[in-house]
Point group: D2
Chain length 336, copies 4
């Protein structure tokens, strides 16, 4: 049994990590860190995990000792912590944005501050296993992708690799509110969020530079990406509707490309139009190619806290540790 | 055309007051006050009211001049403002709790501070027109009831008056989240509120002393009230399920008592089990008496921002001004 | 007071027509027709309309006599009824699809049956007043647009007229479930609809030929339209996110074009990103132009039963009758 | 590995049984039956179960061979099938109502038809393991409780056993819509269900006689039960608010009684006010005793398809087979 640490254990991603790890056959949570809940036990903070081993949350990561650490902290914190973890021989999966943009200048442009750990930035693997499995296996630091890039890239990367998309790509994303995290805010206040569809992120969501960087890693040419996220009145789940241009009549060939690309990827399925509950609590991504007028459209469905967060982080940890990537992630989602 | 002022114009009740007043044939909004939005116009703060006269929000009520003022402020503010309004000859309808408990000692017990304006407290009419129409007509200050007391009292007061309830009354209330107001909070954070039913208010919600005081005003004996409010994933609407004890087999007599009590009350209807959209945006209360096993149960449905707030405040203002109580309140709710 | 008849009075559009007409100052509902509710009164079928005149629903339109008739029936029924209405001198606003495609061959292609009334098909005005006000004023038969075409065309027609869009237009529409009508179906079964976003309509929704025909009526060139409707867990409301190609950097010019085009249209507003409650129960359309990466995106928000249905039908009837188009439609939507 | 059959595999309970069984370490689904989906594979009917063994659904149970059969069929079907299953040595857990009322006369009164299998009716154990664990262990036929009785009885039975409730019990239940099953109906049509709280079941829901019979099995006196179920806009989850009379001041003693009663029951927890996501997809029941005015109130939260259906059925099967009752049921619910 290897040991795991969860940093940022009080938030939604932290809670989902702990939930999934509670049934992992090879990883045992031995330490957890949360500034705001230091001194409480995991079961006090997450009453749904009441059968969980009684780990007490620490205020910081100074005394964390584990085989692998999951960092689910606010942007900017991981790059302060990772150097020390790596130095102590702890593998790290960062669920935040700190290590997703390989270029420190691009990081500074997007986040408005210099990167605190440029050395490891260059070293970090981008943790989308279906595209970058080999580099993750060799890494000791993985940048877990954002939820939107996960859903979007799984839909478009294979088509870009095959040169089947040559113009701008439009991604219209619909997301549940848990992606906004644990802290109350006006746009996720229930009376404001429950009866509308809220497009946000103009002029450019931070996930767009991440998508561009990830596409560049595949070696494909990077098309212009028009990405508009919308909050919909769901808690969990993202559906991306992807409209590549120019229009094309290759629906079945597109489906073939996706199916063949993911033949050996157990968590991605290509088929009928998906329902979001199928992905709930899982590491699954459901893709579907449909015809809309003169163009094929690709739909991509994930749980933003699952494949878009905690479950994918565990898939990455499995690869880091040399285990089958499905370890501890074999539960199906809901029918309803 | 009489003039109206809205104090607390930036919140949900303030916005609903302005929305309803925008079509009132005899009242025109000539001033509005909002600490947090001072200097903005109404249409900037409430974009749904874009056809509205362009009143600029003031920071305080010092220069308000109007025939009637609506106070939709946080608890404790109205009792600072009302004395000056009344002195300047402005009638006042307070949508907050400051003038609902006629006994200053009870006020101090429930709210943990002395009442700042005990003189007017004794004078204020309790603004549930279906029960206290005459005293409202004679008043210059009206305490608009809370949303839960409105729905509960309309269901139980006539039965108490007739002596048909002699034991404890259990009120299980289900409310949308807009009742919690405009400010984000953990319990109304969408991811927390959207997938659960949340009972709160233990051990005693502040609306219980208000109900007791209102029943005492009717002259009926006050029974023990077990009141449990639950947040449900709706934005607007309250359904109260009222279980009087001891059990009784008088369903049809109960329905008769309610129907006859409200024969001349245009906003209360007794009939089939209601749907909340019927009440949406209106001053209506829908009552229904159904049999559940050995007991009649009374269901009461309102819009918490409508009959439970802004619409009832306008009904009270109509009475204060000597107009028909339905003035400006004749629009039906939604079918769906 | 002119008289109105509502055919198809039992459905959601019929109910919304009756609700809005109940406060119309110049139109009085004197007859109503519903096959499935014949013999019942309006208030029995629509309990939210309990203050409504007590019209009894007829089984068919044979004896309808009115100045204007609203037809809110299933596809294929209006074209059986309209000839007789017009012959009896009754103006007609059809809320169904029968008269929206001016070419009977296109109608036959899309609906799989010949048109039963091709003579009047050619005569019918297309009832989007903001684009075709003059032809509606001169008509005696108006084809009220579909909900999706209303939201989409208001966003794109002015840009097409000005030649600012030259390539394909992608419309990603998110709709509440009331658009599917009153009859239960698997895709609107609450457990299936409440926790997902459901793209449907592949390969071509019937509203696409309608949009093409409407654009042709404006004289502009018709671009390829990629239209994907999605059911979201709302009851009322449509948000269309419109992505015109090729990408452009003209965001502020686009906003200017829209604003100037609708300067004299009281129901269309161009401004900040809208919230759907603002449009609820109203005839409003809220447009917003935002930048997303390299492209301007247009958002268009309506109530599918309001501007997308019953309210626009009343706007059309107002024009047919020579009244101000805002008559009876002046209530604002909700803030929350 | 023992073998399991699922009858009624196409519905929501059938799907949840298959989902949970897909990770059961000791039970393998070897046959499945569905009239309406005969000839399809499980993964065709339930796309969320795509990693599942490829069992083809049969049209009837004639050739079912298994160690244990789960019957998730419409009322009235199980009593036709159970005799043959038992004769063939197959243990049976019936998730429908056929074997819940031990008295065939009471069955006939409640369901309006004679019972087709009165012999086994007397023999069936009532499958609420926390109350009747021993009799389930000895049985070959288990009547799995209804969702409402599960939540209600776990809250009140221990208090009745200790004589702490002597008068009528009021149960105000709030349920998600999945409890109504897979078939569309007017009350679960999304536009009707999403914006209201709908009390139903008057004058007596069929679950009330079931509760009375279950209480009688415990040996406690059966109080009058006033039970009102309400549909709330959730898909999964039941919260019961239980108000026992007469009022009492024994809140902490009540909590003690419940805690002590369930000390050895791994699936029942007594503590803070629960959130429904904690129970989602699990066999957990969360109880909480709170003070409301003069009375303790008990809240009980379950997933109606989990502890209120499929998960409890597997708990019962575990007992039938002599395994630890937690086998295959150890996953925690969601935090959010």
């Amino acid at each position: 049994m290897a040991s795991a640490a969860v940093l940022g254990a009080g938030g939604y991603l932290g809670g989902e990590l702990l939930r999934l790890l509670s049934n992992h056959p090879s990883l045992s949570v031995t330490s957890a860190v949360s500034k705001s809940h230091a001194g409480q036990s995991i079961r006090q903070v997450h009453p749904n995990l009441e059968a969980f081993p009684d780990v007490i949350l620490a205020a910081d990561a100074a005394h964390v000792d584990a085989d692998v650490a999951f960092l689910a902290q606010p942007a900017g914190e991981a790059m302060q912590t990772v150097p020390s973890l790596l130095q102590r021989g702890i593998r790290a999966v960062d669920l935040g944005p700190d290590y997703r943009l390989p270029d420190p200048n691009e990081y500074a442009r997007v986040y408005g501050r210099p990167h605190a750990d440029p050395d490891h930035l260059a070293e970090a693997a981008y943790g989308l296993p279906e595209l970058f499995r080999d580099s993750i296996r060799r890494a000791r630091l993985v940048a877990n992708p954002g939820c939107y890039p996960t859903a979007s890239l799984l839909a478009i990367a294979p088509l870009l690799e095959k040169g089947m998309i040559t113009g701008p790509v439009i991604v219209d994303a619909k997301s549940g509110t848990s992606g906004a995290g644990h802290d109350p805010s006006p746009s996720t206040h229930h009376p404001e969020a429950a009866l509308t569809v809220w497009p946000y992120g103009a002029p450019e969501h931070r996930h767009v530079p991440e998508m561009r960087a990830a596409i560049a890693r595949t070696g494909a040419a990077t098309p212009p990406i028009v990405f508009v996220p919308h909050l919909v009145p769901l808690v969990r789940g993202i559906l991306c509707s992807v409209y590549p241009t120019p229009l094309s009549s290759d629906r079945s060939r597109w489906a073939d490309v996706l199916e063949s690309r993911y033949r050996d990827s157990p968590f991605v399925r290509v088929g009928a139009v998906p329902r979001l509950p199928w992905a709930l609590g899982t590491n699954r991504c459901y893709l579907s190619v449909q015809q809309a007028g003169d163009a094929p459209v690709v739909f991509s469905a994930i749980d933003n806290l699952g494949k878009g967060g905690a479950a994918q982080a565990i898939q990455n940890a499995n690869l880091l540790m040399g285990w089958p990537e499905t370890t501890g992630l074999d539960r199906p989602g809901f029918g309803v």
